[in-house]
């Protein structure tokens, strides 16, 4: 018979192996789903996972696009992961992303149409500050009134969306195009444009920022006292408190870092690939980043790989729709499977399956 046995320690091997296994299982289950839809599964999987990188027709265009799509995911997820490690759950990165974008764009629109080298750096500071500020609401409510940061940060996403709509329709609306919501196109305002740093590579300041954030987060978590406190608070909260770690301080720091990084991601998006403040600006990066953080095992290096993988499924998913007429919903199911399999597999990180002979008395 089959028996489950709790491991004394979580298995290191399965922690690392599970994400890879989850990807493999997703390919198999996804392939079966595509076959049931009457599409050739091999072609579908190839279109989603390989063609964006290796295809001669698309590769030179989609490789840079992969960076553009993955950079905000990685930037947000790195911040979220620090909090998640300490059991501080910022679910509202989407809202901080929106507010960061509004702060950044606000600075740009205030200076329009002046030139000036200082405008873009100011936008970066404003974007990070906006995200930080929005994350401080759940942080302060938690430390002062012991509210649940999951609920508060999540509900603030909807508030941020309303503010975004109001801005696109009112204060930030482009006065030159009558009647339509949406701000000026920042891609056409040189001092504010987050352009590609090297043409054709997809590398803009957001990609650079994501890289810096990954390095800093890695150094902090492995070398710095704060990283140690974060880990301790997550694994042994009582011990952490006896060890002098202030839970309130940790809440403020973790939400602040993740908010500022999400705000930065929003700012780099609105001044570059997104281009405009518009009602539909938020496209779910803040939520997808949660998947990225877990798929990457809350580890900065893992998050880079997970972010690239999720970015790949987006771009490949579009190719799959275009070339094979896969339904858009099938692509979303496919992305959902990835998280589902990972969570299911994580079971064996903590438990082992034993086959024993005969019935036990």
């Amino acid at each position: 018979m089959i028996r489950l046995e709790k491991r004394k320690e979580p298995s290191k091997f399965w922690r690392i192996a599970n994400p890879f296994l989850a990807v493999a299982l997703t390919m198999i289950a996804g392939g079966i789903m595509f076959a049931m839809l009457g599409k050739d599964p091999i072609t579908a999987i190839r279109l989603i996972f390989f063609d964006p990188i290796f295809s001669e027709t698309f590769g030179s265009y989609s490789r840079p696009q992969l960076l553009i799509k993955s950079a905000p995911l990685i930037l947000i997820a790195v911040g979220l992961a620090i909090g998640f490690k300490a059991n501080i759950w910022n679910i509202g990165a989407e809202g901080q992303y929106i507010i960061g974008a509004l702060f950044g764009a606000g600075v740009a629109l205030a200076f329009f149409p002046q030139p000036g080298w200082y405008i873009f750096p100011l936008m970066v500071i404003a974007g990070a500050f906006g995200g930080f500020l929005w994350a401080m609401i759940p942080a302060i409510l938690k430390t002062r009134f012991n509210t649940n940061e999951i609920l508060v940060s999540l509900l603030l996403v909807y508030v941020a969306e309303k503010i975004l709509a109001a801005m696109a329709l009112g204060l930030m609306r482009n006065p030159d195009i009558a009647g339509f919501p949406g701000s000026r196109d920042l891609r056409r305002y040189e001092a504010a444009y987050n352009a590609e740093l090297i043409s054709g590579t997809g590398i803009h300041w957001g990609v650079v920022a994501a890289l810096i954030a990954v390095i800093f987060a890695y150094a902090m978590m492995t070398r710095h006292m704060l990283g140690y406190h974060v880990q301790l608070a997550g694994q042994a909260p009582r011990a952490a408190r006896f060890g002098g770690v202030s839970p309130a301080r940790l809440v403020v720091i973790c939400l602040g870092i993740s908010g500022a990084l999400a705000g930065l991601a929003g700012m780099f998006e609105v001044s570059g690939p997104g281009g405009q403040v518009r009602i539909e600006f938020a496209s779910g990066y803040g939520f997808t980043a949660i998947i990225v953080a877990f798929l990457g095992r809350l580890n900065p290096i893992g998050i880079v790989l997970a972010g690239l993988l999720l970015g790949l499924t987006y771009i490949g998913g579009e190719l799959g729709q275009m070339m094979l007429q896969l339904p858009g919903a099938a692509i979303q199911v496919f992305q959902g499977m990835l998280l589902f399999f990972l969570l299911a597999l994580d079971f064996q990180t903590n438990y082992r399956i034993r086959l024993t002979q005969g019935a036990r008395a």
């Binding site: 799509k69 405009q276 518009r278 729709q321 858009g328």
Partner: protein, 354 residues
Amino acid sequence: MKKLLATAALSMALSAPVLADTTKVGFIYIGPVGDHGWTYTHDQARLAVEAEFGDAVETSYVENVAYGADAERVMTQMALSGTDLIFATSFGYGPDVNTVATRFPNVAFEHATGYIQESPNVGLYNARFYEGRAVIGHIAGKMTETNKVGYIASFPIPEVIMGINSAYLHAKAVNPDVEFNVVWVYSWYDPAQEAAAAEALIEQGADIIMQHTDSTAPLTVAQDAGIYAFGQASDMSAFAPQAHLTGILDVWAPYYIERVRAVKEGTWEAGDVWHGIVDGMVGFAPMSDLIPEDVRAEAEGMIAAIAAGEYHPFTGPINKQDGTPWLAEGETAPDGDLLTMDFYVEGITADIPN
């Protein structure tokens, strides 16, 4: 040198796309093809293109494409895969269409309800839906008993505001006591929100619902509440036969077939058209028996008059909401005014959100 390249690109763009055996046509959609509204009608037209040309055409589409970077990427990938003609079927794709079009001067772009034409290979097309709104406004004005009409609106853009004004003017013309309540859902397709909006409007006393959103949810809510409603974009009568009076149909197929043929024959040129009932781009779902016979006859009469060019739904005297005159007696609205409309007409009590 740069100038030379630009000139070369321009002349390439002006020369008609190359005649090929199989023409590849791509479509990008803002919603899902199963919405039974806006996107569904575009996809029906895509299927009509396939039926018309058979093997001589190859179509592809991507649904749920967000404005901005995603739209730009999808259109670029379509262009890279050898697509000859791309239909971008939502107004917000404007900047993205023009960015990609500049990069691919040999690909023809058709942008629905667009307003930006910065590249010589970007054509714009739109339908005069306000003509249809006038007809359903008339029916609503005649049929409401509570004198309250509920209007589910998507985004406060000229297209939607124009529709509200047109429907209101024609309801008011036959029923001076009529009131319009407008709820903005800030989405083109969100069944849950649309249903909630319909419920709120019914609670406020509306006994007829109009929608400028794409799901069938408001119709089913109306049927459950025992009141009437109008469909949107496609014939939605099957979803709520006891509530569905008629609906404005988006008929894109004839235009799409004509444009694909132009590309095949090498005669495609960027245009800017605004087609109405007379061109067949605006149609009507069958008028339900729920509409009294005389009202049905009046509605048919109005459709015929608009099609014949005898009647323009925006004919003066019309004042703006604040009482300032807009159109003088007998004056008809210039297209430019309509396409940038950001005001309600006199009599509507709500405010346009901003």
